[in-house]
């Protein structure tokens, strides 16, 4: 039986209060806040962060597959999973697949991972789901949708067994986004909720319980996808789910609906709190339903570096205003003064330096032991030529040695905080600082590294690593 070997989550640092969106457009606002990806994040970088959170203490060479699920890959043509596998420094022979286009893509990927492990074609698959969907300015979706990512490592052994699966497909035009459209669209609300979501979920749960000869009451926690808080309440009522004790908080007031990652994010939150003997149920919706049940054999052990859903929820900062959100998510082009144009990227340079750029490989001189980033063919100390080994530093921490808050630099979020970081392993790293409060930047602060998008100067994504205050 396939099992969940490990899990992780990523919720961006920034939150936007819904009342701030209400302020922008007039009228009321739903409760709470939503998670917003920084300007240098996209679904791929979010997925990398969730993957890292799931892989603390796990041999990365042991992972056989990466299934990446999203409806918002930055690429229409080009695989996200391959980028993620590179950034996670996985083995070359890893099987990478993108699952796309449906809100169910996350659970589709998880189901496929379970099947692959069960069939014995791979020993373990890392399922990463992430989304950064946009609602049109002024729309309900703008209030509801949040950004986030989740990762589950499916293997042969783990503390949580994947017991059973149910799925069905339903064709209904309730919500959609054409390939050239930035914003999610939907049909009239009552049709979408009653004839779409509620009816389909009810039918799926009934079918699942019948085939399993079980009752919803048999489950300690239910991770239930819902389009919004009201939908969650209505579905809970129809399913006779005890909202207080049985339903896992869908975090719609704190993160928002995170699309393809959403159901799995609620599931991981449940796993973080699960105890031995618990039965968990996952209900995902989107062009049909996926239902999965899990048996917790022993309380999952979490690495000391693990942040997960609960850790990320606590680490946050507010976007000061709606306009900043509009700018960060590229919803409107904002003129930031006449600055020198950004330097052009080169696909060739990225390819040549891929080990350095994606895996963040440093060079360690095998003659004198000194380490450098970027990798140096000639050692700055002993002048040894071509005597080095490449060592990834992406999981190391560091301390801020000196910094600059550059207001002249061209950036979406001035000032550009450039950091000279002294990393573990006696190594220097020169990098911008992201997810930071400029007022709190000070020498000796603790930093770690995060995979980010540097620019899109040639029309593709330039990914690299930045530092950030440890979350």
């Amino acid at each position: 039986m396939p099992a969940i070997t490990s899990f992780g989550a990523y919720i961006p640092y920034y939150r936007l209060k819904r009342e701030e969106i209400g302020r922008a457009w007039g009228g009321g606002a739903p409760r709470g806040e939503k998670a917003v990806a920084n300007y240098d994040e996209d679904s791929i970088t979010l997925a990398v962060e969730a993957g890292r959170d799931a892989l603390h203490g796990i041999d990365r060479q042991s992972i056989g597959g990466v299934y990446f699920a999203t409806t918002t890959s930055p690429y229409k043509e080009k695989q996200g999973a391959a980028v993620i596998a590179s950034a996670l420094n996985l083995k070359k022979s890893v099987f990478t697949v993108d699952f796309a286009d449906s809100l169910r893509a996350g659970t589709n990927a998880l189901r496929a991972a379970m099947d692959a492990v069960k069939a014995g074609s791979v020993n373990s698959v890392l399922v990463v789901a992430s989304d950064c969907r946009l609602g049109a300015p002024g729309s309900d979706y703008e209030q509801v949708l949040g950004d986030g990512a989740v990762a589950l490592l499916v293997g042969k052994e783990g503390s949580i067994d994947c017991v059973s699966n149910y799925t069905h497909a339903s064709e209904i035009i309730d919500q959609w986004r054409l390939s050239d459209q930035p914003f999610v669209k939907k049909w009239e609300d009552r049709f979408v909720v009653t004839e779409g979501y509620l009816a389909d979920v009810k039918e799926a749960v009934d079918s699942f319980m019948k085939t399993q000869n079980m009752n919803l009451k048999d489950f300690n926690k239910v991770a239930l996808y819902a389009p919004d808080a009201r939908g969650h309440k209505e579905a809970s009522k129809i399913l006779k789910l005890d909202v207080k004790t049985q339903a896992q908080d869908p975090m719609l007031d704190t993160i928002g609906n995170t699309g393809a990652a959403f159901a799995l994010l609620i599931l991981v939150a449940a796993m973080e709190e699960a105890n031995a003997g618990d039965k968990l149920l996952l209900i995902s919706y989107g062009d049909g339903c996926d239902i999965m049940s899990f048996q917790v054999k022993e309380k999952p052990l979490m690495d000391k570096e693990y942040l997960g859903v609960h850790g990320h929820l606590k680490s946050k900062n507010y976007l000061s205003n709606y306009e900043k959100y509009i700018k960060f998510r590229g919803i409107m082009d904002v003129e930031s003064g006449r600055r020198r144009p950004p330097q052009k990227s080169s696909a060739v340079a990225i390819h040549r330096d891929r080990g350095m750029i994606y895996s963040l490989n440093s060079s360690e001189c095998t003659s004198c032991g000194r380490a450098f980033f970027p990798p140096q063919r000639v050692c700055n100390y002993c002048q040894a030529k071509d005597q080095f080994k490449e060592v990834s530093i992406s999981e190391r921490k560091g301390k801020l040695f000196t910094f600059s808050k550059d207001l002249l630099a061209s950036t979406v979020d001035p000032p550009l905080v450039v950091s000279v970081v002294n990393m573990e392993g006696n190594l220097r790293f020169f990098t911008p600082m992201t997810d930071r409060d400029p007022e709190k930047v000070e020498i000796d602060m603790s930093l770690d590294l995060t995979f980010r998008k540097m620019s899109e100067t040639e029309g593709y994504c330039n990914y690299f690593w930045k530092c950030r205050p440890v979350r």
Binding site: A349, I350, T402, S404, D406, L407, L408, L416, N462
Partner: protein, 392 residues
């Protein structure tokens, strides 16, 4: 290596500089013609007397032909030099080698930069990694040093800001005596301290302006210099030290002093036979692209002890009346910084000072003058130091 190999072998017999500023109506060609013909007139030479030329330009030239074309230097050996902000001075250095070895008697050196055609503030992008290039600007790069320097020496932000502001006020004051400077106006300490921040702690007045300009020198073999002028100036020595970019990649780089600049200074002092720069240098033009650069260069060049510059500035050590007047013409702060034109502009000020022709900014009885053009930025410096002296 023979450090003194070129000492007293080469003389400067003529110099010229354009008005530095936003030269909207002057092209690269115009500025080169203006600067070079002024130098010709000063030296009493013509194009036909020139045997070879060196042109410095960071972003405004394509080969030495950029000099040949406007000046009609036909079939002449011309080398284009690029070493960031040290470019113009490095062009002079290389030209001096050509003369000192006896190959040429009279050569032309020029530096030019046209920055104000770009359409944006600040400097253009120089070569950097296409992928992880950070987009950090020049003030941003010097702020890395300023923040560390203040922390290292326990300088309170307000004290550090005040010392930096005093440098800006001094250079603006000196600039009022330089008709060709970009700015000729006094600023107050309060203005400098309270100006908008560009990259903390550097405010607007801690940064030199982006400027157009050109400068030129005619140099010749010292033994024929008296044929052109009695009060020629002698080249005493140079120092150049390029960093390996180690600030970015080497954990030992401290960002609280300028090791490359120290090295370049040591080379130049040895070349010139100077044992105690604090006593022997009469006047200095240092690279005040940012006030923190000037502050830390005092230390790197041995004008004061490491960590003491803030206090020395407070005491007025480097004003026109101070013990070692620095940036007597107003420096980059007042002249602006047309990259490759700046090194020869600094040498021009020494050339005037050493000959007693600096007018209201003249220092008393100078013997040795030092000029330093600082290429690069902390962690990646390429300073060029030039020491000039009076003829015997």
């Amino acid at each position: 290596m023979r450090a003194d190999a070129i000492r007293d072998k080469v003389a400067i017999i003529g110099m010229g500089i354009t008005k530095f500023g936003e030269n909207w109506n002057k092209s690269v060609d115009d500025m080169l013609i203006d600067a070079v013909y002024e130098a010709y007139a000063d030296a009493g030479v013509e194009t036909k007397d020139i045997e070879a030329a060196w042109l410095g330009s960071v972003v405004s030239a394509f080969t030495g032909a950029t000099l040949a074309m406007p000046l009609k230097l036909k079939n002449m050996p011309i080398t284009r030099v690029e070493n960031a902000c040290g470019t113009g001075m490095d062009a002079l250095r290389n030209a001096c080698f050509g003369v000192a070895c006896g190959l040429y008697d009279i050569v032309l050196v020029a530096g030019v930069e046209k920055l104000k055609d770009s359409g944006y503030s600040g400097l253009p992008e120089f070569f950097d990694n296409p992928v992880y290039n950070l987009g950090l600007t020049a003030p941003g790069r010097w702020a890395l040093l300023a923040n560390k320097y203040f922390a290292k020496y326990g300088i309170k932000p307000e004290d550090g800001k005040r010392a930096l502001a005093k440098i800006a006020v001094k250079n603006h004051h000196n600039g009022t005596f330089s008709p060709k400077a970009h700015f000729q106006r006094e600023i107050t300490l309060e203005q400098a301290i309270n100006a908008p921040i560009i990259a903390w702690p550097l405010g607007l007045f801690d940064c030199c302006p982006t400027t157009d300009g050109a400068s030129a020198a005619i140099i010749c073999s010292a033994d024929i210099a008296k044929n052109f002028k009695d009060d020629y100036v002698l080249v005493k020595g140079f120092g150049v030290a390029l960093g390996t970019g180690w600030g970015k990649e080497d954990i030992d780089y401290q960002y609280d002093h300028l090791p490359e600049t120290q090295a370049a200074g040591r080379q130049a002092y040895e070349a010139a036979g100077i044992k105690n720069p604090r006593e022997e240098i009469s006047v200095a033009q240092v690279h005040d692209c940012f006030s923190i650069a000037e502050l830390t260069e005092y230390e790197a060049l041995g004008f004061c002890d490491q960590g003491r510059a803030v206090y020395e500035v407070e005491e007025g050590a480097f004003t026109l009346e101070g013990r070692l007047p620095a940036n007597t013409d107003g420096g980059l702060k007042a002249f602006g910084h047309p990259l490759a034109a700046s090194g020869l502009r600094m040498c021009n000020e020494l050339y005037l000072q050493l000959r007693g022709k600096a007018g209201p900014r003249q220092v008393k009885n100078p013997k040795f003058g030092l000029a330093m053009a600082q290429g690069g930025h902390p962690g990646y410096l390429m300073p060029v130091v030039t020491i000039l002296g009076c003829r015997d």
